[in-house]
């Protein structure tokens, strides 16, 4: 019986350590700052073990019975801990609270194990030998677990299944203890039945672990995901809820099919309708083909050049039936030429000139995107404008990112252009801003293509009026060597979310 007992010690030590490592790793993955996460979790866990050891003195009788119960509870709580935490992170606000609560409960239970076990066997061995043997195997178990965890468990099984596997071991210990200590137990039948029940539960969990992680990830996007693709440049996700199709690039909403016409009509028509006889149009960004769809409403336009970085993106919007339905197969028009290139080097090297230039990039969330919002980029782009040409720039929200919006306006001014800022309301975005820029005077058009759903001749002048809460802010220009816009944009959104 001796060796069996010590193997029990070894196994429960391993289980205890694994739960702690899982909590620490999970917190590092999900919250970042691994030093802080590991330190606080180890601290809480050790402290809880201390509480457990202290509490063990209040257990007087029925040691074996309680030991089996502790193992069962550890099996359930520890086994499901990782799955519960993943789901809690996706669906609730209380991830950290739950995590520390779980760590404390598991710590207390683990703290109870060894003192109780030692007392259970003290009759049979010298105290000296008990301490020596129990502790030796305790530490051996810890060593084994700490090596297994990074080498085998995390890469092969993942966190959810590792926890469940060790939950099974805890329950296994419980079951085995009903045999090992049968003579100390009042009734073994109920305990064994319970053990089998928990083993079944964990077994099912182990088989379904993939679905649990998937469920956790799904909830970041509220709707059904109809397409998710990692390209070389970005993470493209398309979702659908009833008739609403939404495109996310790197988790940022790009459009909702319910109101994108507002955005794209406002992006194109105030500018393009004001250009006399536009023949050549350039679009930078806009790989969804929706801006091109609006441009093709002008029969006099002979050539549309679209420069977008990601070939996967333009291919998707040229071929996917649901998406070509949205952009009315604009990429398939013989007038349209798609160039997959990085926009800045492209404008630097291209020599063509255009009557209308559309600059429709993702918001300046990083320094690399911020380069496409600099005086240098606007100067380089403006070189491609024909004498009567106009340029329009997607410029974030003058409401939610007011500093950023007016920073873009100032940047265009410093690039030597006259600016005409305007804004519209797009329900899925809120108030959204654009800037028309040119080297000559601009006035809103008096004639628009037929069949527009949002932009109208009467409504145009109001777009150029800014109420006090969106009125101009004094901002420096965004330059390659001093990207104030990226910092302003970051700050604007921080201010909104706090």
């Amino acid at each position: 019986m001796g060796i069996l007992l010590f193997i029990t010690v070894l196994l429960i030590a391993a289980c205890g350590l694994i739960y702690e490592l899982i909590a620490g790793t999970l917190a590092s993955y999900l919250l970042g700052d691994s030093v802080l996460q590991f330190s606080t979790i180890i601290g809480c866990y050790l402290f809880a073990m201390g509480i457990g050891s202290a509490l063990s003195r209040y257990i007087h009788r029925g040691l074996a019975y309680r030991f089996v119960w502790i193992e069962l509870m550890l099996g359930v709580i520890g086994g499901f801990s990782s799955a519960v935490l993943f789901l809690a992170f996706a669906y609730t606000q209380g991830f950290q609270l739950l995590m520390y609560a779980l760590v404390v409960v598991i710590g207390i239970l683990v703290g109870l194990e060894i003192p109780i076990l030692m007392r259970m066997v003290r009759e049979r061995y010298h105290f000296r030998d008990v301490v020596a043997h129990v502790l030796t195997f305790d530490y051996l178990g810890a060593l084994g677990a700490s090596l297994l965890f990074p080498i085998l468990l995390v890469p092969r099984l993942g966190l959810v299944r590792s926890a469940m596997l060790f939950g099974l071991i805890n329950v296994g210990v419980a079951l085995w203890s009903t045999f090992l200590f049968a003579w100390q137990l009042p009734s073994t039948r109920v305990l064994r039945a319970l053990c089998l029940l928990v083993i079944c539960g964990l077994g099912i969990g182990l088989a379904q672990a993939k679905r649990i992680t998937a469920a956790a990830e799904d909830n970041i996007y509220a709707d059904e995901i109809i397409l998710a693709r990692d390209t070389r440049y970005q993470h493209i996700v398309l979702t659908r809820f009833k008739d609403d199709i939404r495109l996310f690039l790197n988790s940022h909403l790009q459009f909702s099919s319910r109101d994108e016409y507002r955005y794209h009509e406002a992006l194109i028509h105030p500018g393009l309708s004001a250009v006399p006889a536009p023949r050549r149009v350039l679009v930078m960004g806009g790989g969804d083909g929706l801006a091109v769809r609006e441009i093709l409403k002008y029969p006099q336009v002979e050539n549309v050049t679209l420069v977008d970085l990601d070939p996967e993106m333009t291919r998707l919007f040229s071929t996917h039936p649901m998406l070509t339905g949205l952009n009315q197969k604009s990429f398939l028009s013989p007038k349209v030429h798609v160039i997959n290139a990085d926009a800045f080097p492209w404008v630097d090297t291209s020599a063509d000139s255009y009557d209308f230039i559309v600059i429709d990039f993702p918001d300046p969330t990083s320094y690399s995107l911020g380069k496409l919002y600099t005086t240098a980029f606007y100067k380089a782009s403006a070189r491609h404008l024909s004498a009567q040409g106009l340029m329009v720039v997607q410029s974030t929200s003058p409401m939610f990112a007011r500093d950023s919006y007016w920073c873009i306006v100032e940047t265009l001014k410093q690039a030597g252009l006259k600016t005409y800022p305007y804004h519209v309301y797009v329900p899925s975005f809120g108030e959204w801003g654009f800037v028309i820029a040119s080297s000559h005077e601009y006035s809103p058009p008096t004639l628009l293509p037929a069949g527009l759903r949002f932009v109208s001749v009467d409504g145009l002048p109001t777009m150029f009026q800014f109420p006090p809460d969106m009125s101009p802010m004094p901002m420096p220009p965004n330059r390659l060597n001093d990207q104030v816009l990226v910092r302003a944009y970051d700050q604007d959104w921080k201010d909104i979310s706090h």
Partner: protein, 506 residues
Amino acid sequence: MKFTRRKFLQAGSAALVGLSVKGDRPIAGGFVNDSFQMGHLLRDRASFPPPRRTEKHAVVIVGGGIAGLSAAWRLNKRGFKEFVLLEMNQQPGGNSRWGENEVTAYPWAAHYVPVPGPKATYVRELFEELGVLKDGVWDERALCFSPQERLFLYGRWQEGIEPAIGLNDKDREKFRKLEDQIHRFRASGGFTIPMERGLSREQADLDRVPFSEWLRERGMDSRIVTWYMNYCCRDDYGALAADTSAWAGIHYFASREPEDKGPLTWPEGNGWIVHRLLERVGSYVRSDHMVHHIAKEGRGYSVRVGDTEYRAEFVIFAAPTFLAPYVIESFAPLKDFHYSPWLTANLTLDRLPATYGSDPTWDNVVMNSPTLGYVDAMHQTVRSQVDRTVWTFYWALAEGAPAANRQLLLERDWSYWKEAILRDLERVHPDIRTCVSRVDIMRFGHAMARPIPGAIFSEERRKLADLDGRLLFANSDLSGFSIFEEAQYRGVGAAEKVLHHLGGSS
């Protein structure tokens, strides 16, 4: 019982953090562009062939670094064409040489010029000519892009190299004190670039003490401040603060008052400037021409390269001044010229390492590393997507005696240095070995002048700098420290002296 169990729990966590699977990826590379062999031929006074051919030139410039090329630039700009420039290496440029591979161009040493102040008139003139300065506005594309610099400390990156996180009140107080002092020195007008424009006897005392001692005496030494001061001295002088003259240490901070957010930099570093200079004066440059003997000959000088003798009325010696006693006949040994050994490496990265929540910057420094970190050659690209790059890794061998470090540079093989570099980078980029495909290393025994105490106000230095005869010296080491602006100032200055003797511009 719990104490020991706790130790195991901690060991368990340590194992988690420490055990990661390493990809074994072959890394190519080697030493490149070594000038050791040639330098040692001069040092050991090897025998060279007697002259068989003679060429006559009004002016011979010895050395094709920034000083020599700047002398050529000025002569050529003034319409004077009676000269040649003799360069020992295959590639001119000296400390501003650059390389290029299928990913990008990259520097081999000097990689930036701080935005010049109003006193650096020659530098401003050059940059106006090159289109970098137009109507008083610096070209945005030549200024270092955002974000410029970052420092890794306490397990994370911060923006900027001056430590800003984890400071206690004492550190802050010391930094404030230093700033006050620097402000005072800046206002004094004694610390300028070029240094000759402001150099004043009033500050000669500062040149007698090591910078570290000067800081300590004024209570500006804490662990953090000292690290930063050492970093700055290693970066500009290749020496620790203890081996740097306090005057030079102060000059580093007090001489610069940028009028725009800089510095000026290009993917190939100052190689970009060399490139532009060579477009103008390349036809005068003779590479692979090692001068082994210079002697007085009639009114002028005889300069020998291999079996060719160049007869010149004027010689501008723009090579490092320490070579003069080995090359120039009956030239007295020098005692005040000291140099720091350096090593640079260009690492080709086939993919970028994980970013760990910080935007990659141009200059990346790690606190408490013996090296100076790395500069990203692809930083100055206007592309918004970059997946391959070249990092230039800088390592001034500042700890210990320069002579011993030179020995070390020579003795250790490429794989020793490659491993040392990768291990240093692994501290901040654990996945670096899976990214790097090449490590090319360049060794510089005498990379740059080392302004030890006494170097700035040295009589020897002053005498050579002030020479106004038919043999002129022009290397940046005549300023006591090696920076682009000083090299250019000395080079242009020597050319001006020659033109003056020859009767002004033609």
